[in-house]
């Protein structure tokens, strides 16, 4: 395929509910309305590609904004790599976050061949913002290793920006939070725990349910965020997080009303990520900032309720774990009877696993792009983990922003002169 445009856009890879559609591909200069803009660019470009994926609540047009801005900023920083912007459906039914997580997983499945058709055999550096990291991480963990080397893109480095993915997906139970501690109780020591579950033993929760099953024989063992992306190997990862995050900020205590959660997600406000995790299984209507089954919901059947209320921890904590296989203490999903059996349960396929993780299994660790994102040093080493909120990566700050925190989308929103060092770092580490 001829590459005579230094900037390309692959259209939305997965349409709503897996239909085709979205923005059209623009792979050559002729595909762009302003094709004359690209004249002469090709000769300036190196035979390398930088690929970028946006995050949640970015529609097709906004995606073009992200892509343009990232390309320009990299160019200003001295990069002469060609650029591919990938748009995907991260904007479906806002404020429904979880549907878009499912879309992210679906996009990962088809990312490889589409990317290959855009970049050929050239070296590739890939970067993703926020929920775009769910797409890339899932692709690199599950699909990339299966693809023959000759028919997959040649990816060397992966830059995570403000990743809206739980740390446990990369680091497993890295805090020793749950392993061997199933009889310990949920409490305020972990800010990701819903306050209604304080006092209940961890083994009663949806996040720990997978431990009841044999990993070799029962696919329910895979219903956890822990180590979900441990399959990423042979690629250099660099994580850029911010201790000044708003969207991924740590939320402690009571989750407040669903209206607040919904409004927050609608506006991508502070604590959005924590809210969507804590509202798993707690929303009266699916998609309004939360989901309706499993998660932090309580099972009021199977003898677990008293006068219409879930039984107290002093009673629930005496139950034998084995009964939870078919009758979990958390709220069952009536549409997934095949999961709740004493026999070997079967998660139908990878798509169902990803859907359950997205909608119904709460993360117990903080997001990779947020306040504790520095913990990624354990896997990546400290040399490859960068706090963008530190003064190192700020060159002053706009006077209209009295709060000098590096917020979730400041990579794009703050003018280049203030944030150029991050782009120079991408260029340096990515060899662009």
């Amino acid at each position: 395929m001829p590459h005579n445009a230094p900037a390309q856009e692959t259209g939305s890879l997965i349409g709503e509910h897996n239909t085709q559609g979205g923005e059209k591909n623009r792979l050559k200069a002729d595909d762009f309305a302003n094709k004359e803009h690209f004249t002469g660019f090709e000769a300036e470009c190196a035979d390398k590609y930088l690929v970028m994926l946006h995050g949640f609540k970015v529609n097709g047009q906004a995606a073009r904004g992200w892509h343009s801005e990232m390309f320009k900023r990299m160019f200003w920083s001295g990069s002469r790599a060609k650029f591919v912007g990938v748009s995907w459906f991260g904007f479906e039914n806002i404020p429904d976050y979880h549907t878009n997580v499912v879309n992210a997983f679906s996009t990962a499945e088809v990312l490889g061949p589409n990317l290959k058709s855009a970049v050929g055999s050239s070296p590739v550096v890939i970067m993703a913002h926020s929920l775009g990291n769910m797409v890339v991480s899932n692709y690199l963990a599950d699909y990339y290793p299966q693809e023959p080397a000759a028919s997959r893109p040649n990816i060397g480095n992966y830059f995570l920006f403000n990743a809206a993915v739980a740390l446990e997906a990369y680091l497993g139970d890295y805090q020793g939070y749950a392993e061997g501690k199933q009889n310990e109780i949920f409490g305020s020591d972990n800010p990701m725990v819903h306050t209604d579950w304080y006092g209940y033993q961890k083994r009663l929760g949806a996040s720990e349910w997978h431990r009841l099953f044999n990993g070799a024989t029962d696919s329910r063992f895979g219903l956890t965020w822990m180590d979900r992306f441990e399959g990423i190997n042979g690629i250099n990862l660099f994580s850029f997080y911010s201790q000044g995050e708003d969207v991924l900020d740590t939320h402690e205590g009571n989750i407040g009303t669903l209206e607040v959660a919904s409004d927050t997600l609608l506006n991508a406000g502070r604590h959005s990520w924590a809210y969507q995790e804590k509202w798993k299984g707690r929303a009266p209507v699916n998609g309004l900032g939360g989901t309706t089954t499993m998660g932090w919901g309580f099972n009021l059947n199977d003898g677990y309720s008293f006068l219409g209320h879930h039984v107290q921890p002093s009673v629930a904590n005496t139950y034998d774990s084995q009964i939870f296989k078919s009758a979990p203490f958390f709220l069952k999903d009536p549409s997934k009877g095949h999961l709740f059996t004493q026999n070997i349960g079967v998660v139908t396929d990878e798509a169902e696993r990803n859907e359950i993780l997205s909608n119904q299994i709460p993360a117990l660790t903080l997001p990779t792009g947020g306040r504790e994102g520095g913990d990624m040093f354990r896997k990546l080493t400290n040399d490859r983990v960068f706090d963008m909120n530190g003064q190192k990566y700020k060159n002053g700050w706009p006077s209209v922003r009295n709060n000098e925190d590096w917020r979730h989308s400041d990579l794009k929103n703050i003018a280049y002169p203030y944030v150029h060092r991050v782009f120079e770092k991408i260029k340096q580490e990515g060899g662009l």
């Binding site: 201790q243 000044g244 502070r270 040093f377 990546l380 080493t381 209209v400 009295n402 709060n403 925190d405």
Partner: protein, 321 residues
């Protein structure tokens, strides 16, 4: 009576309109705070510029800004509609900038609570910044040359001493023990020791994220140094390590005892922890950001315009924090 009734209806009508309007949140979601600016002697600082950004995702910049000048008691009070969080910055000529943030606890019909809390913000004076050797090995990467062997590193030459480099003074002596299968299955220990009897290092725990841009004490203490520290990573099922970016250090190297029995030495500081990473190296990379004052005083105030390493590449330049 009739007028009162009409007035009552009018008031109810206005309140209803406000409740229904998009701006109704402004009434109930107002937050108020007082910033009190003080110096290191706890004296009030007047004339300081205070900027407060009240979190509000409905605003184009995601904040409602309030700005002003601290009064003779060092106070500035600001209020604005908010979603319960704010960040602020305080500046004044002759002082280092300070930044901070605050989370309100809850909201009621009177606004965000606690209502108008007073936050004490420290502004530190710019007194005597001096040239230093300042380098961040996270940007200018170094890798320990060998395992299970003492290797000296010269902080002024930024190099290992012979036979591994051209350094002349073993300011820090690193010794790495390494058993590494993967990041989650390893036992690694990095020992840091010193060449001279009175050299040493002192731990100062501090989360550097907020507060004054000038971090740690202005002068290095005369006492309290230990002659070595051990950093470790033990991982095998569980991960255990004392590597922590909150672990800052003050150190003393090239020390000699003078005739008057006073210690003459170079002092310095390390901000943001000392890390080592065995993951992608036959030995380990070491990352730490250090400032070494060569003038043999205990002054730790760095002049970022006079880094003795000269004109480093842009990404390797080191600021005051």
């Amino acid at each position: 009576m009739k007028i009162n009734k009409v007035l009552g209806i009018l008031i109810i009508y206005i309140i209803s309109l406000m409740l229904l309007s998009n701006k109704s949140y402004a009434i109930f979601e107002t937050a108020k705070i007082t910033i009190r600016v003080v110096d290191e002697d706890n004296n009030n600082v007047d004339g300081a510029y205070v900027g407060i950004g009240f979190d509000d995702y409905r605003s184009p910049t995601k904040e409602n800004s309030v700005r002003g000048i601290s009064d003779s008691e060092g106070r500035f009070t600001g209020s604005a509609p908010s979603t319960g969080y704010l960040g602020f910055n305080v500046t004044r000529d002759g002082y280092y900038k300070s930044i901070g943030h605050y989370s309100f606890k809850e909201k009621n019909l009177s606004g965000w609570q606690p209502w108008n809390p007073e936050l004490r913000v420290l502004l530190r004076k710019i007194e005597n910044p001096v040239p230093m050797y300042a380098r961040d090995t996270k940007e200018s990467r170094i890798e320990i040359p060998v395992v299970e062997k003492d290797v000296g590193f010269d902080l002024t030459k930024f190099d290992w001493i012979a036979p591994y480099g051209k350094g002349e003074h073993a300011d820090f002596i690193f010794n790495l023990k390494k058993r590494f299968e993967n990041w989650n299955d390893q036992d690694c220990v990095m020992n840091i020791s010193f060449s001279n009897e009175n050299d040493g290092i002192m731990l100062i725990e501090d989360d550097l994220g907020y507060g004054s841009f000038f971090k740690l004490p202005r002068y290095a203490p005369e006492m309290g140094y230990v002659d070595n520290i051990q950093l470790f990573i033990h991982a095998g099922g569980k991960w255990d390590s004392n590597l922590d970016k909150k672990n800052n250090f003050i150190f003393r190297v090239r020390s000699k005892v003078e005739k008057d029995k006073k210690i003459k030495a170079m002092y310095g500081k390390i901000l943001g922890g000392i890390f080592f990473g065995p993951n992608f190296s036959k030995t380990a990379t070491i990352s730490f950001k250090y400032y070494l004052n060569p003038d043999y005083t205990r002054n730790l105030e760095f002049d970022a315009r006079r880094n003795l390493f000269g004109n480093l590449p842009p990404l390797e330049r080191v600021g005051i924090q």
